[in-house]
Amino acid sequence: MSRAPEHAPTFTRPPLARRLEPWLPVLLIPALMLAGLVLIPQGSSWLTLTVSGLAMGMMIFTIASGMTLVFGLMDVINFGHGAFISFGAFVGATVLLALPGMAGAADMPANVAAVALAIAAAMAAAGGLGLGFERWIVRPVYGSHLKQILVTMGGLIVAEQLIHVIWGGEQIAVPRPETLKGAVTFAGAALEKYRLLAVAIGLVLFLGMRWLLRATRLGLIVRAGVENPEMVQALGYRIRRVFVLVFVAGSALAGLGGVMWALYQEVITAGMGNQIMVLVFIVVIIGGLGSVEGCFIGALLVGLLQNYVAFLEPKAALVSNIALMVAVLMWRPQGMIPVVKAK
């Protein structure tokens, strides 16, 4: 091929302030932690609350990450996502309660194996439920937000009633495995072992998702599909299969989040998923539709803020996350890191 005529590229390096702009949401996390350090009188209390907030944020991220991709890639508002959380929690709890020898022994490998089995079963069950949900509930209403809201809300109610039928109407206690009970002391602060584990799982999940989305062809297809699904098809990719895969993966992650939440609260109810969904929606909206990074930042902000405010002014904790959402949307109406524009 002949060489193009030389002409100066029109791209110029933007100023520093402009280059830092995309990173501003990331800076909110250390800024909030710093504000907490100033406002909370004791350093040990601040450390305990920070780990608790990060753990809570990681669990919300686990649940919300799949939902934001489904929202961005498929333009589907799935109010039924809470069903996958509850279903995953009940299946995971059933596995844990069926393995008293492994979960109840003061033996780290046995405890870890029991939790791993519970997580695997919960993810498989929630993923399977997601597959059926996509096929029979969501697929007929692609393209219609109003119908999606009505139909997925209906699906959520049916799923909750199914949980009542299978596991009964009472709440179920889910004791943590022996080695995950209690706390470790660090710098004078008591840090719950389970919360540290939740932080580690969330971090691994986030890094894994980033690698998948940034370094693999499947990730490229998903990121491109979030932005312009029509063009992805025109390049020769069967986007419908990717839709289903992402929906099932998102459901499985909600199941994982359900197990983590169950062990966090140590009690489960059929309506637990529905209750968490308020926080999940806040995170998805302030993070920016379709953005895993935005979802991660949003989840950590929600977790940290809720814990700090609950300590400083308990009555204000109920509205702290709504106030956060209002503030973020006034600053960035499309969310912190929007990938798709809200329609």
Binding site: M1, S2, R3, A4, P5, E6, H7, P9, T10, F11, R217, L220, I221, R223, A224, V226, E227, N228, E230, M231, V232, Q233, A234, L235, G236, Y237, R238, I239, R240, V339
Partner: protein, 239 residues
């Protein structure tokens, strides 16, 4: 004129309640550049989108290599060997230049020789390889859009107004690349409003008006007939 690789027979397409294409029939000969011309709103973009399956033909046939592809999903049409450059360029702004091209190389890793060929034609793509495509200028985005279609050899290229709104220097770069693609034996169906560019690139021409094909023939004949240009394309000073 060689045998056609693409033939449209009496294609009609609706968008919602509106009948956009009424009776579109033409052929694209293998190894030639066919220009799809017409005034704004004539139905050129809808024709390309109908071929790609992005709008469904209500009636008629879209024959590609003797197979009717009118009812196939878009991905299957693309996999038959058709590349598409849409009017809005369709680049993925959140992906880097390199990722846009890697995604377009659907059969596997990018061929190094072909990539070198493309980056020689479009040097800014190499310069901004790791930059998000959304940060490129309009001309660079168009280069990326065309490069993405060229990253693998295809049996047919559908290109929608590549010169639209671009600076003359960028149009010259794109024209050179398309000429090279033509020299390599590619079959191209090109929508273009720039008549000088059409004359330079086209072997054949199809003219549309109000959702119908109203003329088809050799580009040289159209270019030589000012009265015909005036009548079909409304070109001032042509008639």
């Amino acid at each position: 004129m060689s045998e056609p690789i693409l033939t449209l027979r009496s294609v009609a397409t609706d968008i919602g309640r509106y009948h956009i294409l009424h009776d579109v029939s033409f052929s694209v000969p293998r190894g030639e550049v066919t220009m799809l011309l017409g005034r704004n709103g004539a139905g050129k973009t809808t024709t390309l989108r109908t071929i790609m399956g992005l709008w469904r033909a209500r009636t008629g046939q879209v024959l590609f290599a003797d197979e009717d592809i009118a009812a196939l999903p878009t991905a299957e049409i693309s996999r038959r060997g058709i590349a598409y450059v849409p009017e809005d360029m369709g680049i993925f702004s959140d992906l880097t230049v390199g990722e846009n091209l890697r995604l377009a190389a659907i059969s596997g890793p990018m061929d190094k020789a072909r990539l070198a060929w493309i980056t020689a034609a479009f040097p800014p793509l190499k310069t901004f390889w790791d930059s998000a495509a959304g940060t490129l200028s309009g001309g660079q985005k168009q280069m990326l859009s065309v490069a993405r279609a060229m990253i693998e050899e295809r049996r047919l290229y559908l290109i929608d107004e590549p010169s639209k709104g671009l600076a003359p220097a960028i149009v010259t770069t794109l024209a050179r690349a398309l000429k090279d693609l033509k020299r390599a034996g590619a079959t191209i169906l090109l929508v273009e409003q720039n008549f000088a560019l059409s004359r330079a690139l086209g072997d054949g021409a199809v003219v549309m008006e109000d959702g119908r094909t109203v003329w088809s023939g050799r580009m040289a004949d159209l270019a030589a007939d000012a009265a015909l240009q005036g009548r079909l394309l409304g070109m001032e000073g042509a008639a």
